[in-house]
């Protein structure tokens, strides 16, 4: 289907099903139960899942295929956000021009940075991109936000004010980013028994774009261009000896993945029209590296899983506080209860980084291929137990989708 082979088609359909049905399976607990805390099916987080999914898919095109580890991808995300908010400020709240513009600007920016950084490879390339990203952050945070020339509005973040130009804004349109009048914030709540499901317009718009982005990534992975990029990863020197110039390929991959990041940035601005400088900081760049590695570098679906995993921890675990813990352990005697709370305390709330770090280490040590490898091992285990599949089939399945 759609020019994909059988295996990719099923993977694509899985991703489509996952994104369409996300409001249901992310809210598995009734809204009044004590486990409702772990529900992730509210608009903001669902939007984050798919937006960071796009970001990680794009990053994987560069890192997974060419092996070039960029530590500055957040810069493109931030540039995309600023571009989108400027469209909101000057022209219209409609998200289409904003997203298109953010992709173009991020692409141009990636071309510039990539052209310079790709003169080096390995650690030097990483450091160069990191330096550029930190420069962009500093520019956005203070230099470009002085009262005389305010492009980014500094630490407060660029936002839309009531007295902004907005040439094409009309009276009957929502005062919020919208798709031809459909507000990104529009949300339909479906109550089934004690379950509450959110269907957010902003989420579905982002989800459709993510599915398109995923499809494009699959096509790139399977194209001759993708093969060329993998050749760069396996042995670039040999490529040069055979007379091939790898630079145009790596630069193209860099720009494409920069555009993906710009798309993600534009969408972030579309669901929440404020662009803060922090999203360009090196920690944000590091985050997307973690997402990709955690999910499975070079696999198609890995980055999406990794993005979801990290965002879930960031938003759910960081909100568990001591009061909730005391509620959980209330059945224990007083002393024991306090002890349990004291033991668990460092891992929740502000300590969510610690939990994530431990999980990350476990994944890297025991599942070097990331969550995708974990899934495959479980599948293989089930198959072996059933004893139905032939050996040949098994080995075909266990190859990562590289």
């Amino acid at each position: 289907m759609l020019g994909l082979n059988k295996q990719d088609t099923s993977l694509f359909l899985i991703v489509v099903a996952m994104t369409v049905l996300a409001p249901f399976f992310l809210n598995p607990f009734p809204s009044e139960s004590s486990l409702a805390l772990f529900n992730a099916g509210y608009p903001d987080l669902m939007q984050r899942f798919v937006i960071f999914g796009i970001f990680a898919i794009g990053f994987n095109i560069l890192f997974g295929l060419t092996g070039y580890l960029s530590f500055g991808h957040a810069a493109f995300l931030g540039v995309g956000s600023y571009a989108a908010v400027w469209i909101f400020k000057l022209f219209t709240y409609n998200v289409i021009p904003a997203i298109v513009f953010s992709v173009i600007v991020a692409g141009a920016f990636a071309l510039f940075i990539g052209y310079i950084s790709l003169r080096r490879s390995g650690i030097y390339f990483s450091i160069l991109t990191l330096a550029f990203a930190q420069m962009s952050f500093a520019l956005a945070y203070s230099v470009l936000s002085n009262p005389n020339f305010n492009l980014t509005n500094g630490e407060t973040g660029l936002q839309v004010y009531g007295d902004d130009l907005q040439i094409f804004h009309r009276e009957n349109l929502p005062d919020f980013p919208h798709l031809f009048g459909l507000s990104m914030r529009a949300n339909y709540e479906l109550e089934i028994g004690s379950w509450l499901f959110n269907f957010s317009a902003g989420y579905y718009i982002c989800a459709i774009i993510m599915i398109a982005a995923f499809y494009l990534a699959v096509r790139i992975f399977r194209s001759p261009f993708g093969t060329m990029l993998r050749a760069v990863k396996s042995n670039q020197t040999r490529m040069y000896y055979t007379g091939l110039n790898a630079r145009p390929y790596t630069l193209a991959a860099f720009v494409v993945s920069g555009m993906y990041a710009g798309l993600a940035g534009g969408l972030m601005a579309a669901v929440d029209p404020l662009a803060g400088a922090e999203r360009m900081q090196w920690t944000a760049s590091g985050e997307v590296v973690l997402m990709t590695i955690l999910g499975g570098t070079g696999t198609l679906i890995g980055p999406i899983l990794g993005a979801g995993f990290i965002k879930y921890f960031e938003n759910i675990f960081s909100k568990i506080n001591d009061t909730i813990l005391h509620g959980w352990f209330a059945f224990l005697p007083e002393g024991l209860e306090n002890l349990m709370v004291a033991i668990v305390h460092p891992f929740i709330g502000k300590g969510w980084h610690l939990t994530l770090g431990i999980l990350f280490m476990l994944v890297i040590i025991f599942l070097p291929g990331g969550l995708v490898e974990g899934g495959q091992r479980i599948l293989n285990l089930l198959r072996r137990r059933n004893g139905q599949k032939s050996d040949a089939d098994k080995s075909a399945q266990s190859t990562p989708a590289e």
């Binding site: 903001d44 500094g154 407060t156 798709l179 922090e278």
Partner: protein, 450 residues
Amino acid sequence: MSKQNLTRRGLLKTSAVAGAGLAVPTIFTAQSAAAYMNEPTGSTVTLGFNVPQTGPYADEGADELLAQQLAVEHINGEGDGGCLNTFTSKALQGNGILGKKVDFVTGDTQTKSDIARASAKSMIEKDGVIMVNGGSSSGVAVAVQSLCQEAGIIFMAGLTHSNDTTGKDRKANGFRHFFNAYMSGAALAPVLQNVYGNERRAYHLTADYNWGWTQEESIVAYTEAIGWETVNTVKTPLASTDFSSYIAPVLNSGADVLVLNHYGGNMVNSLTNAIQFGLLDKEVNGQNFAIVVPLYSELMATGAGENIKGVYGSMNYNWQLDNEGSKTFVQSFGEKFGKPPSNSAQTCYAQVLLYADACERAGTFNPCGVVEALEGFEFDGLGNGPTLYRAEDHQCFKDVLVVRGAENPTSAYDTLEIVDITPRAQVEYVPNHPMFGGDEASLGTCNPGV
């Protein structure tokens, strides 16, 4: 390998699927039976406490969280009732708000606008909070305030000192109890004039972001009004940890006062560097060199240790204040947590109580009712003395403290001593003051969110 089998039929099929996909979201439109955003229907009402739990202001955040918990206890009628006993408005009965028990959720702003907004959004969308309180940075406050305005809930700002929060970025759904940079200037100038005279030359080091600029602007305006000359204003990157390269030029500039428009760790480092360079022992233009830190906090004072001795600055509140409300609050806070509250803690405590009281007086949680109840509200008994919530810009007006690093502190907590309490009349300004956005700044209209 790629398969380029683009057929007419295939294209039609694809576009039909894509079209159907695009049409899906139009089925959903915002619809709600509630009268306003997150209307509490059960027996509880949820407040959101969004404070920095990690990052440079984590200590302040932790203190704010304690104060907020204490406020919730008092509103629910647990503990000793704290400032409910001294508060001039007697609407709160100690049985929650409007008979509903108060619950709260917490979030981590990390002192980053983006993260703070994400955290506030999840509180609003997932936990159904009706009010967000807290924070320790103006950038975050402005960002979260505009989010709350869009979403249709109330924002009670925590520690935010930039003029913009209730200046050009003021919002109908947002309220600030904390004082601002303009008030710091207005309060400090007369004291500085008394201590250092009119013939001074000031050199500013300013944290290079929004808050730094508004504070520099305010202090420059006020010190020049008392006859001081501004030699130079230098912006320092926020991420700096070593300020030596910025301090050295001060020595040769002919300035005899150094104004540090820095906060938190920045201020601790720049002050320490300045002391190491021996600035305070210098004599320039026949006068002793002086250092001024316009915005002080207890945590900064503790961080800077010995170095702050004799250095002047201003504060919103100090636990040593001698009035009924302050004494009650300090006792209540001290008994529970074993230390006196910081000024950010006091602001957050007061804000939660003020919000609860406004709901009670309005008889509803509807943001528009709460806004009406808070606008122009005069009160006392929360620690700052008589206070007004001005209707035009949602800024609190109250006395401002001028403090000085104590020469002989007797404990870890009295590192600052109150020099002067500047009366409210002296720090007041017109709502359309040019430093506060001028005539263009407007609150807009209150947004109930539906």
